[in-house]
């Protein structure tokens, strides 16, 4: 550990960043001052658009060139103002004194260069190393960031690595020249929770080993709690609070900080309750525990495989086993959640319910078998099942007015027209908390949360019995996420709607579900009521998922460093692949665990 000095390693004073817009200059970072102490971690937190990335980029003089510029302020590093350095000198600072990790591991590596080339470039950016020395250092770095088989990785291209691996490479590049400071801009946002946990632990370990200081940018209070020594909370480009981590979480002073913390779903906070969060607040709710009745949706042995074509004749050569023999029921008024990591088949399962992709098995919606139904035969079924897509913006036709978009299902199904239609749409708008006079606007004129409400309104317009909500809150800031979750639950309370709620976020799932199914590699590994899953997880994978969720509580012991990273197994197999048998085990009360047969 480094000596604590009175003056910090990096002192930022009055940093102000402006961007040029058609309407004139706009200040996106406003008079920001902070000090980064040696060997410490400073977390900059705040919601999307609050100016976090701009702050980081301005410290590297990497602001997007003509649009953004630093209009005031200083940042002293070893006595030099790095905001004012000319480009040639700044180049000496980049990499040597400050290393940086970017938000998107998928795009921050050059797709056409090998890992070895890029890492080598970073090592020798300031020249003077022999090829052998570069290679040795590259291997050392890869080893340091815990990448298995480093020698092989050097020859690989970025797209051949998983997201987690790539982010490790980016970290290795940032560390290549032994900088004193590491700036990490949302380094884990795009990653699965389990991978996120590994990366966060890695950064902590490197910090401890190398004694560097870290500026960590994140919007996730859980991550802040895991990482921070000091926390700086930003809102609209301004600093609203700057305190040690323990203080922030225990005694947040600024209302915005309080709001932020309140909105964060905390894993385990609902231990002991049976119904979803909202309902437990309201004991008079009509549906408390779903009464055992006819299931609204019955899925048996649902299997979805996608062929990968190739060869001379474009015949299938490989197959993606996206969903493998999944069975479940959804009762009226019940929320079933599907959780699992990226690519495990959640969305595919949801789409199969609406016949949006070809599938095998048996699905019954309100008693009707939907297998093989054509577009028009499906239409009545779709009155009962609707879907809200993952990305609200992408699922709204940007060239249509939102009012028309919400009216569309009614028109398609011929349920209303003329003034009746207008009334229905206006009602739906009010129902999801939008005002009816916003109907004439276009999707881009709304915020992310509002757009999600529009999608919900559209899904509601047919008064379906089931809504498939695919990652409906994943793209939203926590505060908005909380609002949308509340809305969904209110609707359920009112109408007895069922949800198939798809998410990768265990904490969110805990809040909203009656029952939870954990998916891994296209299969269910565990299914049961919320309490059964969260309070008594049985399957290893379920446990691992839960352990990986960062908890917004700095007092909790930080998780230990994990083993070397491994890639997730791939769902792509040869044509002759037969999935291994699984045995289901009912451990009581409908709590099912699937394990490989023969164990």
């Amino acid at each position: 550990m480094q000596q604590k000095t009175t003056s910090g390693l990096l002192e930022v004073n009055g940093l102000t960043v402006q961007v040029a817009t058609p309407a004139g200059a706009r200040t996106v970072v406003d008079d920001l001052s902070f000090t980064l102490e040696g060997g410490k971690t400073l977390c900059i937190a705040g919601e999307s658009g609050s100016g976090k990335s701009m702050t980081a980029l301005s410290l590297m003089q990497l602001l997007p060139k003509p649009m953004a510029r630093v209009s005031a302020g200083t940042a002293k590093l070893d006595g030099r103002d790095i905001l004012a350095l000319p480009e040639t000198e700044m180049r000496q600072v980049r990499g040597r004194h400050i290393g940086m990790i970017f938000q998107e591991p998928m795009t921050s590596l050059n797709p056409v260069l090998t890992i070895g080339k890029q890492l080598g470039g970073a090592i020798s950016a300031h020249g003077g190393l022999s090829d052998a020395a570069i290679r040795a250092r590259a291997l050392e770095l890869l080893d340091q960031v815990q990448i298995p088989e480093p020698a092989r990785r050097l020859k690989q291209f970025p797209h051949e690595l998983s997201g987690g691996m790539r982010q490790r490479v980016v970290i290795a590049m940032a560390l290549a020249q032994n900088p004193q400071i590491l700036i990490a801009d949302e380094p884990t946002t795009a990653l699965d929770v389990t991978v996120q946990a590994q990366i966060l632990a890695l950064i902590r370990k490197l910090q401890a080993d190398l004694g560097i200081s870290v500026i960590m940018i994140t919007h996730d209070m859980g991550v802040v709690a895991e990482m921070a020594d000091d926390v700086l909370v930003m809102q609209h480009g301004r600093m609203v609070e700057h305190s040690p981590a323990s203080v922030i979480f225990s005694k947040p002073r600024h209302p915005y900080t309080q709001e932020l913390l309140a909105a964060v779903p905390r894993l385990g906070e609902m231990t002991g309750t049976r119904a979803p969060k909202r309902m437990s607040d309201d004991p008079t709710a009509s549906v408390q525990t779903p009464a055992p009745a006819e299931p609204l949706v019955a899925v048996k042995d649902l299997t979805v495989r996608f062929d990968i074509k190739g060869g001379i004749l474009q015949r299938p050569v490989q197959r993606v086993h996206a969903v493998e023999g999944v069975s479940f029921d959804i009762m009226p008024g019940e929320t079933l959640s599907l959780v699992g990591e990226s690519g495990c088949g959640k969305s595919t399962t949801g789409k199969a319910l609406l016949n949006l992709i070809p599938w095998q098995g048996d699905i019954r919606v309100a008693g009707r078998a939907t297998r093989g139904l054509g577009a028009s035969a499906m239409r009545p079924v779709l009155r009962d099942v609707q879907m809200i897509f993952q990305d609200p913006y992408a699922s709204l036709d940007p060239r249509m007015r939102v009012g028309d978009l919400v009216a569309e299902p009614l028109q398609i199904h011929g349920l209303a027209s003329g003034s009746e239609l207008d009334d229905r749409v206006a009602y739906l708008f009010r129902r999801v908390g939008l005002s009816a006079d916003q109907m004439r606007r276009y999707p881009h004129e709304f915020s992310g949360g509002q757009r999600q409400r529009i999608c919900i309104a559209r899904a509601l317009s047919l008064s379906p019995k089931l809504i498939v909500a695919d990652e409906s809150v994943a793209a939203l800031d926590v505060s908005i996420q909380a609002q949308v979750l509340d809305l969904l639950q209110d609707i359920q309370n009112e109408t007895g709607m069922s949800y198939l709620f798809i998410s990768h976020d265990m904490a969110v799932v805990e809040q909203i579900s009656h029952r939870v199914a954990v998916m891994y590699m296209g299969r269910f590994v565990e299914m049961g009521s919320r309490a059964q899953i969260f309070e008594n997880p049985q399957h290893d994978y379920t446990k691992k998922l839960m352990a990986a969720v960062p908890v917004a509580d700095p007092s909790r012991p930080r998780r230990a460093f994990m083993e070397k990273a491994e890639d997730l197994p791939s769902p792509v197999h040869g044509l002759d692949y037969t999935p291994p048998l699984q045995a289901a085990r009912d451990i009581g009360g409908g709590h099912m665990v699937w394990e490989a047969a023969g164990r």
């Binding site: 779709l382 699922s395 940007p398 559209r458």
Partner: protein, 296 residues
């Protein structure tokens, strides 16, 4: 939300496309040139100082040489003693008719092929796109020449020939774009609501292709004008004595040393018109395509 503000700015609440075109100097230049040519074509009978078909006796020297530009014949006379300026003005009609009609047909065929192949997939996709591939591999000019030889050339035949050669590009572009739009969430969402193909195609996909189609249509006009000129230059375009800028050059090309005005003035006219459409098309591409933003 701050995010909303940012996006409102990028997806500008359209102050009409025209207004935005006018704000760009290059596009404005292009529009002005096009306007001049259109006016010349429409008002040719009033603007042209002479009958474009009249072979003036005094339009040739005693030896039979054409006259250089002068006060009487502003752009000089051609090899049979006609007023070049008048012929250029009437020639604008030809270029524009070909540009608009031929290209219009090409755009319609191309988008119909591209959209249906892109949306319906299956055998329609295979058949249409294989055919498009085939047409792509055809050396366009050779095809046009052969077609022009089969149907003995006239203004309308030339227009048809050009249309048959030019639709391929548009088919390709709309095909690719339709395919990607058809995969976008909002189309999947439409299907999830039970919308039929007609509704999806006409209400959701077509509007998204419109800007692409408009852009390619303008750029296509430039290509078309050039192709007509080339066909005429090779002597298989619009039939004499109807003037087209290309066949004026064709008739006079060998005189480029002794009467350069006969080649380079119409050459400049073709260049200017093609340039104008390219400038406007490119500006439209910028304006209508949000992914191309950040230029100018």
């Amino acid at each position: 939300m701050s995010q909303t503000v940012a996006e409102t700015e990028t997806h500008v609440a359209t102050p009409s496309v025209l207004a935005r075109l006018l704000r760009r100097p290059l596009a404005l230049t292009g529009l002005v040139i096009i306007a001049v040519v259109v006016l010349a074509a429409v008002f040719a009978p009033w603007l042209a100082p002479y009958d474009p078909y009249e072979q003036f006796f005094e339009g040739l020297t005693i030896e039979g040489a054409p006259l250089p530009p002068s006060a009487q014949f502003w752009f000089g006379t051609d090899l049979v003693g006609r007023d070049l300026f008048s012929r250029l003005i009437y020639g604008a009609q030809t270029s524009l008719i070909i540009g608009v009609v031929a290209n219009g047909i090409a755009v319609v065929i191309g988008s119909a092929v591209g959209i249906s192949a892109g949306y319906f997939r299956g055998w329609a996709d295979t058949v249409l796109m294989r055919f498009t591939d085939l047409m792509m591999a055809f050396p366009a000019l050779l095809l046009a020449i052969v077609l022009a030889a089969i149907f003995s050339p006239s203004l309308w035949i030339v227009a048809m020939v050009i249309a048959m050669v030019n639709w391929v590009q548009i088919a390709r572009v709309t095909y690719t774009e339709t395919r990607s739009i058809a995969e976008r969430d909002f189309v999947v969402a439409e299907r999830a609501m039970g919308a039929g193909a007609g509704r999806i195609l006409f209400r959701h996909i077509l509007p998204h292709l419109l800007s692409t189609i408009i852009v390619w249509a303008t750029l296509g006009i430039a290509t078309t004008v050039l192709l007509e000129a080339t066909l005429s230059f090779l002597g298989i375009g619009v039939q004499p004595p109807i003037p087209s800028w290309g066949n004026i050059i064709f008739e006079n090309q060998t005189y480029f040393t002794s009467a350069p005005w006969l080649v380079f003035i119409p050459g400049a006219a073709i260049l200017a018109l093609a340039l104008a459409f390219n400038l406007v098309g490119d500006a439209l591409r910028d304006i209508l395509d949000p992914t191309q933003q950040g230029r100018h």
